[in-house]
């Protein structure tokens, strides 16, 4: 106790208790992040084409047009950029397009297609027509 000084100019006798707590929490966080990144780096195959699945969610009428809410899901671990989705209605010549900036690996993104005819009448078909590698 004799060594302990209150003066601000003196260096502390050792790390404060809080410093140990903060460093321990930081250490757990750092190890978690590095560990998760390393695990993913090791498990991920060299190349795997993004597998994109597109499905309709709901169709609502808005004024003179019909909005088809769609969901694009990427089943692979690889991100697809500029994902183009085309929708058409059976028995109609009308097609609609939408481009999604990114669909990250293992994630899903929502978008909407707008039609002049009611997609519920004929049956809506959706497909991904292309994407970019980021």
């Amino acid at each position: 106790m004799a060594q302990k000084k209150k003066s601000k100019d003196k260096p502390p006798s050792g790390p404060a208790l809080l410093e140990w707590v903060a460093a321990a929490i930081g250490g757990v966080i750092a190890l978690t992040i590095f560990g998760l990144l390393a695990a993913e780096a090791l498990s991920r195959p060299e190349y795997e084409a993004p597998i994109l699945r597109v499905e309709p969610l709901a169709i609502v009428s808005a004024g003179n047009s019909f909005i088809a809410e769609i969901n694009v899901r990427n089943l692979s671990a690889h991100t697809a950029a500029s994902v183009e989705v085309e929708g058409s209605i059976a028995g109609q010549s009308e097609t609609s397009h939408v481009t999604l900036a990114y669909v990250p690996g293992g994630s899903e993104r929502r978008a909407a297609l707008v039609f002049a005819h009611d997609p519920r009448s004929g049956g809506l078909s959706l497909r991904v027509t292309g994407f970019e590698h980021p």
């Binding site: 302990k4 209150k6 260096p11 502390p12 006798s13 050792g14 790390p15 404060a16 208790l17 809080l18 410093e19 140990w20 903060a22 460093a23 321990a24 929490i25 930081g26 250490g27 757990v28 966080i29 750092a30 992040i33 590095f34 998760l36 990144l37 390393a38 993913e40 780096a41 991920r44 671990a77 991100t79 950029a81 990114y102 990250p104 690996g105 293992g106 994630s107 980021p134």
Partner: protein, 278 residues
């Protein structure tokens, strides 16, 4: 090992943690609100992201030696401070990204971890500097002044500055667009301007903590040892960042050189200013 359980010591460290959090937000915000940075979090190759996070952590340990939370007496204390800064930066990034709805519980863990790992880089710089910068200046120890005063210490500071400022612009589309627009003559001019700017800072800003720079102080000596070497550091850091973000693979040498010239401009400003700020 002695653990200080006294209230004043713990209170002082708590204030340091608070300042670190503020620093993380201040340095992190421009990056937290940049779209390319979120996207990098999910598409960047995991090995590259991992090595970038580890390099960032090593720089944090070095920064702790030169600046940081408090006077450090040994390498393990620098390691502890780096861990604290990294922890705070991660929590700050996670909080802000969640508030912006950039991350949510429905996303796969790889997307969340990737986004947070990218944001932790500038935020942890901010946490480490904020702990000291927003506090009182007289907390810098003699040992830090000594290390900071060495040539190697100066070069390390320049590297850290180039890394921070370069990182905040390297992933953006504008970086590439600028290099497409510039002619080779523009690039040459930009290189010269970067070196002149760097040299201007070496003179105008002077050397913190001492009146004379280490070593000889003649014009050519300073120019070669600080400005030219500083620019070389900015170029190497620029190349490293471009490689990390996958910008130079499958790109022609001339185009890559032009991108490096563009990135070395903020890099050299960062290198020059780091000696002032840190």
């Amino acid at each position: 090992m002695i653990v200080d359980t006294s209230a004043p010591a713990n209170w002082r460290y708590a204030k340091g943690l608070g300042r670190a959090f503020a620093g993380a937000i201040i340095f992190g915000l421009p990056i937290l609100m940049t779209m390319e940075m979120w996207q990098l979090g999910f598409y960047l190759d995991r090995i590259k992201l991992l090595q970038f996070a580890l390099v960032n952590f090593l720089v944090l340990v070095g920064l702790s030696r030169l600046s940081g939370f408090e006077r450090t007496v040994s390498w393990w204390q620098d390691l502890m401070d780096a861990l604290s800064a990294y922890g705070i930066a991660t929590l700050a990034s996670l909080t802000v990204l969640a508030m912006f709805a950039i991350i949510d519980a429905s996303m796969p863990s790889s997307e969340i971890v990737g986004k947070v790992a990218i944001q932790s880089v500038p935020a942890s710089f901010g946490a480490m500097l904020g702990a000291k910068q927003l506090g009182s200046n007289d907390e810098v120890g003699k040992d830090e002044e000594r290390v900071r005063g060495t040539y190697a210490g100066q070069l390390f500071l320049m590297m850290a500055g180039a890394l921070f400022l370069g990182f905040s612009v390297a992933p953006t589309e504008e970086m590439i667009l600028i290099s497409f627009r510039m002619s080779p003559w523009h690039s040459v001019l930009l290189v010269l301007a970067s070196i002149l700017l760097l040299h201007g800072f070496v003179y105008a800003v002077g050397f913190k903590g001492q009146e004379e720079p280490p070593g000889p102080t003649g014009f050519f000596s300073l120019f070669i040892r600080f400005s030219i070497v500083g620019y070389a550091i900015a170029v190497i850091v620029g190349l490293y960042l471009l490689w990390t973000f996958g910008r130079i693979e499958e790109t022609s040498v001339a185009q890559a050189a032009s991108m490096v010239a563009v990135l070395a401009f903020p890099g050299s400003v960062g290198a020059a200013i780091a000696r002032l700020i840190i």
